[in-house]
């Protein structure tokens, strides 16, 4: 028994190298199934994080304003948020979130027409709102009037919406807030197709010095799934009970819908492809086991028990399945990473959980591919098999 047990590995090794072409074909089939399963499952597992990253394109998904925002001042200026709101919001929203303070007011142009002015951290606002289209504008000849009339406040750099710029005319202009003038210079215009086109953006501290208003809204971009965003909103409401924390429903609802449909679509594709490839590989492996019916018959004729012959066949398949898994996992992880680079411009890291799933799939395919033909061979007599029946 001991002797035959030590003989088995040699027998398996001989069997595998005896017909290298056939072994290579079986190994290739099992490598294909492991590659496909690894690549698609890795992409599927990382889909949520990739999509959530993509949804950042839409900008802020939560807005915080002072409670009772509808009671505006006579000039339409929204109520201020408390001083600690920015820090509290940053802490509650989490380190991955982007929090940008805004202060809005209604100023007058020299013609007396109203215009919305917004104080903000312009760089952070641009970073959050990647859909903002910024155009550099050609430098205009110096308008000494605007500069000299600006008085002590100075010439403030501004980002003007395209409609606002059209209404203001020059790159240098003056606006009035509560009768207080402020001179601006703009070297860039902003185009969004929204209300931003009609506004003039300036640094928050300059806005506060000019209007006396420090901060009226916080726009927050919270990354993550709809559930993670809802959890962050709950934390924000707890941290800022005196403020109104409003999710931008259209973004959160649409994100959940699009992410869930994409996930379902990819999962359906993964299952469909894996199933198809598995059946193809199964058919191919099954045929190759049937092809070895003479080996089976010779071993039986020489006195090997059915269990031992089957063990030999199964051990071979397990070895090939694991070797196929090794190659397929490496290849599949590479393909998943390539898909990530091509499509999302970020890499997709290999996942050990996927290796476990691919191993189960490969072993299942291999064992089914061996067991079904073996069951068929078991019903035949060695003599009739050797006679070619």
């Amino acid at each position: 028994m001991k002797k035959s047990g030590s003989f088995l590995p040699l027998l398996i090794w001989r069997s595998l190298i005896h017909r290298p072409g056939r072994t290579a074909a079986r190994l290739a089939a099992l490598t294909v199934s492991a590659t496909v399963a690894t690549a698609l499952l890795t992409v599927y597992a990382s889909l949520d994080s990739k999509l959530n990253h993509e949804f950042r394109t839409f900008g802020a998904n939560v807005v915080i304003t002072a409670a009772g925002q509808d009671s505006r001042s006579s000039e339409g200026t929204p109520t201020e948020l408390p001083d600690n709101a920015l820090e509290a919001a940053r802490h509650a929203a989490g380190s991955q979130s982007l929090v940008v303070p805004f202060a809005y007011g209604i100023a007058q142009m020299q013609s007396g027409a109203p215009i919305v002015v917004a104080g903000t951290d312009v760089k952070a606002a641009e970073q959050m709102n990647r859909w903002w289209q910024i155009h550099e504008v050609a430098a205009a000849p110096t308008d000494p009037d605007a500069a000299t009339q600006s008085g002590a406040v100075g010439l403030v750099p501004a980002l003007a919406g395209v409609q606002a710029k059209k209404a203001l005319g020059s790159n240098r202009f003056k606006l009035f807030y509560g009768g207080q003038p402020l001179a601006f210079e703009t070297s860039r215009t902003l185009q969004t197709g929204g209300a931003e086109d009609s506004r003039v953006y300036l640094p928050l501290d300059a806005f506060a010095r000019w209007t006396g208003t420090r901060m009226t809204a916080l726009e927050i971009q919270i990354p993550g799934s709809a559930q993670e965003v809802q959890a962050a909103i709950a934390r924000l409401r707890k941290a800022l009970p005196e403020a109104e924390v409003q999710p931008i429903h259209q973004l959160i609802a649409a994100q959940a819908g699009v992410a869930s449909r994409t996930r379902s679509l990819l999962l359906s594709s993964v299952l469909l492809i894996s199933l198809t490839i598995s059946v193809c590989v199964l058919a191919s492996l099954g045929a190759s086991v049937l092809e070895r019916r003479r080996d089976y018959a010779v071993m039986k004729a020489m006195g090997a028990t059915e269990r031992r012959v089957e063990l030999l066949f199964l051990a071979e398949v397990v070895l090939l399945a694991m070797a196929g898994l090794g190659c397929g996992y490496a290849l599949g992880s590479g393909i998943a990473d390539l898909i990530g680079e091509i499509n999302f411009h970020t890499s997709i890291a290999p996942l050990w959980q996927v290796a476990v799933a691919a191993a189960i799939l490969n072993l299942t395919i291999g064992l089914i591919a061996a067991l079904i033909p073996l069951k068929a061979l078991r019903m035949l007599k060695p003599a009739s098999l050797l006679q070619g029946h």
Partner: protein, 422 residues
């Protein structure tokens, strides 16, 4: 003789042919299903992204600046220019009319509301809620409800022609202590609150009234301030971002005939006199980016399916041919030339691949349709153009897979094969 050999081969080797055919059929199913999903995912996802709202806005060309903060208009009610309501049907007559999914005009104003003895100024927006727009004898349902799927309503929407029903945003209702069913006077018109709207950030703080009623209060019959359009668009590329005025006539035509947000906006602007149409970049750009990545992902997965199916089909063909080495030896012993044997096998492979691909194509179309129906609520149907493509691909990979075995078989020495089988 050649045809008879092929006929006999199919007749006498049913098991082998069925096994190889099954592998090809499954490969063709996966390829067809993935190609169908890849082709239809763009439109399906684009429709799904309509949940983000309008992606094009139309305003009067000579309009004054928007004065609004947090979506609440602060401009004096009677200032600015207007568009004509009667022109809106023209939006559904542009070159890309089939891509126009929804049209929602708005007319904002500030109205006096009388509750008991108190008079207040409140923001009001006039909408088409669920409007039947007649265009060239056909009727399309358009309006704000379809454009704002995130709005939630407690009650019923005001009827579009009604002069006595309004809806109110929940924040405003809470502030004014109003409830569904309350009767109030707005601009000296008695109205009933038919529903309370929540979920819309700006809509929460306004009265939502039928467009005709807003026009009546503003004394501007047939006027609208802005029109929001939801259009199916393709993601912007370098051409999409171009200024049409700077393009050559040929490129300009290509730009015009592509469903870019800018080209659709341009056509709307041409159709509506004295208007300015532009993409809402927050929605259009976000949609475009996500859409291109999801479509790209599905195409890459389809490509992976194609390669994997190709390898599986090729492996099946190689196995099927390798199994027949004795038969090949016998044919060679009987005087068949290398070319005749190779020709016979190539013909067999082609016929088998074609015969298995056709049912695989229909099965794949059915699978894709079911997946699409389940995920998007609408099927993908059968795409006839994919049949020749799938046929070509599957026959191609079958031949590629079978070729090494066929060539090896054709070179076989008959004596060695026949001796080995004894």
């Amino acid at each position: 003789m050649f045809l008879r050999l092929i006929y006999e081969s199919f007749l006498r080797q049913k098991r082998r042919k069925l096994l190889a055919g099954a592998a090809i059929l499954l490969g063709a199913t996966a390829v067809t299903a993935m190609l169908t999903i890849g082709v239809s995912v763009g439109n399906k996802m684009s429709r799904e992204m309509k949940a983000y709202g309008a992606n094009i806005v139309v305003a009067p060309a000579a309009d004054a600046l928007d004065v609004e903060v947090g979506g609440v208009p602060l401009r004096p009610a009677h200032s600015g220019e207007y568009l004509k309501q009667s022109d809106l049907a023209k939006i559904k007559q542009i070159f890309w009319h089939n891509n126009i999914e929804n049209i929602s005009p708005e007319l904002p104003l500030t109205a006096q509301i009388e509750i008991g003895q108190t008079i207040r100024q409140v923001p009001v927006v006039g909408y088409w809620f669920h409007h039947a727009l007649d265009v060239g004898g056909e009727s399309y349902t358009v309006g704000a409800i379809g454009l704002h799927p995130w709005w939630r309503l407690d009650g019923t929407w005001p009827r579009d022609g009604s002069r006595s029903e309004i809806a109110i945003g929940e924040t405003l209702a809470r502030r004014l202590q109003l409830q569904k069913g309350d009767r109030i006077e707005v601009e000296q018109t008695p109205v009933t609150i038919s529903g309370i709207v929540s979920g819309g950030n700006a809509a929460n703080r306004t009265l939502l009234v039928p467009l005709a009623l807003a026009q009546q209060w503003l004394h501007r019959p047939g006027a609208v301030r802005r029109v929001y359009v939801s259009a199916l668009t393709k993601p912007e590329d370098a051409l999409g971002r171009s200024n049409p005025a700077t393009l050559s006539p040929k490129m300009r035509e290509r730009w015009y005939c592509s469903a870019y947000p800018n080209s659709i906006a341009y056509q709307i602007q041409q159709a509506l006199p004295h208007s300015r149409a532009e993409q809402i970049r927050r929605i259009a750009q976000g949609e475009g980016k996500i859409l291109s990545h999801i479509s790209g992902l599905m195409w890459l997965v389809a490509l992976a399916a194609l390669v994997a199916s190709g390898l599986a089909v090729a492996a099946s063909m190689a196995t099927a041919i390798a199994e027949r080495h004795q038969e090949i030896g016998l044919m060679r012993a009987l005087g068949a030339s290398h070319g005749a044997i190779a020709g016979l096998f190539f013909t067999e492979v082609t016929l088998l691949a074609a015969a298995a691909t056709i049912p695989g194509y229909f099965l794949g179309s059915f699978v894709a349709d079911q997946v699409s129906q389940r995920i998007f609520g609408s099927g993908s149907g059968v795409i006839p153009a994919l049949l020749p493509l799938t046929l070509l691909l599957i026959i191609g990979v079958s031949l590629i897979g079978g070729t090494p075995s066929i060539l090896r078989a054709a070179r076989t020495e008959p004596a060695s094969v026949l001796r080995a089988s004894v």
